[in-house]
Amino acid sequence: MAEREKLIEIKDLQITFGHGRKKFVAVDHVNFDIYKGETFSLVGESGSGKTTIGRAITRINPTSGGEILFKGRKINGRIPKELDLEVIKKCQMIFQDPMASLNERAKVDYIISEGLLNHHLYKDDADREAKVQKALREVGLLPEFASRFPHEFSGGQRQRIGIARALVMEPEFIVADEPISALDVSIRAQVLNLLNRLKKDRGLTYLFIAHDLSVVRFISDRIAVISKGRIVELAEAEELFLNPLHPYTKALLSAVPMPDPRMEKKKKLLVYDPSMHDYSVDKPVWEEIKEGHFVYGNQKELEEYRKEVK
């Protein structure tokens, strides 16, 4: 594990909105690394700050503390212009709602090539068209769709257009912000398969943001659970499901609906109450409790987690 190349490193990241008395801490001292070629998932409720982290990596939201490193170079805060452009090209984003994230007045051709146009990443018009068509084919759409408008497509097809728009820039890293939450069950499977195939073919790395743990298990290599701007647990996908330690992770797991009626009817819903932690004297730390399995807690809690984990 130690040998693996780190593509993204997040060190003590802090993001706040507003100033003075109205200051709101959205992301609070967050640390994690994303290795090249893996799917790293960030799971939490709405308002937990998961999207904010994704947006900070793609330089949409400014940060107020800490560091984000892309291939070992700092990419948050003030950075040289060339690096800024490189990050914009190499880190792309896929959005949640395919109904809202495409320009209704633009043809698919323009939507996909907008990034190319902005950065002049093509030799001539024929080259640009070829790139658009290649991207369309890669996501399983027909090249002639380029001349159509978004409203002519179904939800699944629109999400594919959103993916093609990210792919055409030839990124290394993609932030997928709840890419399947707004889709129908049958289309979800298609989009997940597509993301997995692209990962294999192109060696992509994903940051997958979601609120549904069950979907995330299928697609991710590692999962981080985030609550109120803090990552409370991080582990490999299977490990997290077998050995959930933090009470918030357990609560999330208990809320996930499983397609198994007998299991569902027996299930007990756990509710997470943040006031259960007494951090007044014993300060909490971020600790590796087992190889690759991190959890946030104070010494007393960590002691219990150690007993539990085996």
Partner: protein, 348 residues
Amino acid sequence: MMEQKNVILSAKDVEIQFSLRGKKLNAIRKCSLDLYEGETLAIVGESGSGKSVFTKSFVGMLDANGSITGGEIMFEGKDIAKYTKEKEWLTIRGKKIAMVMQDPMTSLNPLKKIGKQIQESIELHQGIKGEAAKKMALEMLEKVGIPNPEKRYNQYPHEFSGGMRQRVVIAIAVACRPQILICDEPTTALDVTIQAQILDLIRHLQEELKMTVIYITHDLGVVANVADRVAVMYAGQIVEYGTVEEIFYDPWHPYTWALLSALPQLGVKGEDLPTIEGTPPNLFNEIKGDAFAPRNKQALAIDFVKEPPFFKVSETHQAKTWYLDPRAPKIEQPPAVRMLRQQMRERG
């Protein structure tokens, strides 16, 4: 499940058409359904399968260009499919059959206080006015688990979170003690943790108020959690129905198979999830044979020629597929279904 089953609502061969640009769209094609008192029925299917339209016809909420063109819907001894006037519908809608819509962001009036919106429904349907109605509205707020009802009564929808708003919508729906509550994707717009709470709330209210609940959803996880019985819809028809255990552990319609197999929860990591290729049929055209056949890789020759009837699997379980005909070749259920059944047996 209940021992003695009283049918509370019975739909027989319902057909619903919409006229669009001079053409007729057959949204519901001969749908039959018996709803038993006190049960929870889930209707599942893709978007466009007609699950919303079908249930909207129970409360007369079809769009202006749509109408029930055939069949009957019997409720309290009357055929409500024959209702045409708004006045007739008002004796049922909201009062006896109420609906909870998908998106709590759009189903509340942003300019009116929460309390007034609940009160409005009580005043309209129950003839209780003024202070008495306000008292009831406060009771309702408390019942759906909104803390501090006195203060919340005077707040506007934008001051509520998504989950709280959905609680208000539920309060409005159950304020008049309906016999049937139709929940149209009540939790799709919500977080998983909130979703679990809302499902729990509906379950409690159902027990307390002795309601019959219809869930419309495409999330099979939710179905497994709440339903007693399940009806699977495709292209304007119910293709399979049975108890929740029969549908999950022993389904027979290839469409039910495909829906279950496509779930990421049942997928094998590193392998592709089985997907449903193609798109649902165009309902402007007449459909020949089994509507799902063009998307079914294991379709039989007869599927393209003749529409299958319902075959009985058990007293409570029927599926509309030729696979169950004694003359059909033996076709095995897909791996995801076999896995579910095996897991169930292992756990006992």
